[in-house]
Symmetry: C2
Subunit: 276 residues, 2 copies
């Protein structure tokens, strides 16, 4: 049986040195232009918490800060439960790596909130946009040749893919697409964390101009329990993203992911550096 | 000259023990029902970074996790620049306090990204909603008697204040209001961080039912430079907030704050625990 590329990318070994310390390595399958796909890095930060023996409940919130480029090769992740309450738990997480200078550097920081969730009243006030059935929408496989991660997703965009020409003529930044892992895999929190970052940079669409960019921080809220994610299995998600403000080198992206049946699984926001 | 209540609340003393370690105390002026107003706590976490001698640039992103109740009295905040790049800097911040057991506990964690911003192309794709002039909207001073913080703000809501009756009959959670410090003070990043949390709990509006709540995590992106905030001075901000998903004990809130002339100054998201 083959291991799924995402499970390979998320493979972490417990270190003997300390509880909560894990070792892993970057995945060629999810390589981006000049480093790993940020979605996999975010998923790894969460995975260290999910693998921690003291975990309470399931993730509710994840913030990941991309402090420096992650280099190809080995890394360490340390997950620390800084506060455990009756039904919530607060985590700090750091990824570090040996740099070119031989010293260890922090490349990524994160915070996670996990919680025991209870049945309560509920309402979805952000309904899924109307969309044609997934299989009626054409699958694309675009993207720069070196961006391997794109090939790990089955993307069927209704609107807002890369502009047909880089002519500086863009006027909107919204994308709506059906998306799921290209190779079948049952949905879980780590996969959802990665999917929350599976959009092209909004500024490329908005300007029809491929300026250099880099996400500096992403925050994802999980609105579903693990059992619901399992039920969705390898189903499509409707993923929507839009940029709201572009100004002096930074823009934000607001994103939402629904199950095909309309359950809002995650809302995610990120802030992204852009040049020029 | 009187010190502004917010400046009193944000007063931090450098500790001799360590660079980046500050001491402060909770403010009676911003007391909430059972602890300090979360907006002031968020602002304090940011303030420790702003006061750090090694700060690079201005804040771009702030995530604050409310790990435990902050008790009345003294606290410590430690701000650490974990990574400094050419134009960005990544911070981790922790607030701790002596607990009832005499031991020191972490009450709050945060991450901050600061950056040197440059003039670039820009666009505001989230225009300010149409609204009547601030002074034509009636000022309110509602809220539970013990929630002192409410009195520190001049709030002029167009829509979505507390329901007239707690009759379980709500159907929407959007608030739009003009807001500014009640006592005049020039806008800055710390004030904006606090204002981003100046909304009543969405679930109270949505259900017309005052269930117990508590924010667990808030993330604010700053889309403006300090110079622009200074120019706004004591001007009104148009503040909008809406809940998107309420499910099994947690709901999110998406918020935006514009200057009166329509500049989008901050976008903010939070996830909030609710009971029942």
């Amino acid at each position: 049986m083959n291991t799924h590329p995402l499970d390979k990318a998320l493979a972490l070994a417990h270190s003997d040195l300390q509880v909560g310390l894990f070792t892993g390595a970057t995945s060629p399958d999810y390589w981006n232009m000049v480093g790993p796909f940020g979605g996999t890095t975010a998923a790894l930060m969460l995975q260290a918490v999910l693998r921690h023996p003291d975990l309470l409940g399931e993730p509710v919130a994840l913030t990941v800060n991309f402090a420096a480029a992650v280099l190809e090769g080995a890394f360490e992740i340390l997950a620390v439960p800084v506060r455990t309450n009756r039904s919530t738990q607060h985590w700090t997480v750091q990824m570090s790596q040996a740099g070119a200078d031989g010293k260890t550097h922090v490349t990524t920081t994160a915070t996670v909130v996990s919680a025991l969730r209870r049945d309560t009243w509920g309402a979805n006030d952000l309904p899924m946009p109307e969309a044609p059935p997934p299989t009626s929408v054409e699958r694309i496989s675009l993207g720069p040749a070196r961006a391997q991660w794109i090939h790990q997703y089955e993307m069927r965009p209704m609107t807002g893919m890369l502009p047909p020409e880089w002519d500086g003529g863009g006027d909107a930044s919204e994308t709506r697409m059906w998306v799921r892992d290209a190779e079948p895999r049952t949905l879980d929190f780590a996969a959802l964390a990665a999917l929350s970052d599976s959009f092209f940079p909004r500024v490329w669409l908005r300007r029809a101009r491929p300026v250099p960019i880099g996400t500096v921080s992403i925050t994802t809220y999980f609105h579903a329990e693990g059992a619901l994610l399992s039920e969705i299995g390898h189903g499509f998600l409707l993923a929507r993203a839009v940029g709201q403000q572009f100004r002096n080198g930074y823009f934000d992206q607001a994103a939402q992911l629904w199950s095909e049946s309309g359950a809002l699984l995650a809302t995610s926001n990120q802030i992204v550096y852009f040049k020029e």
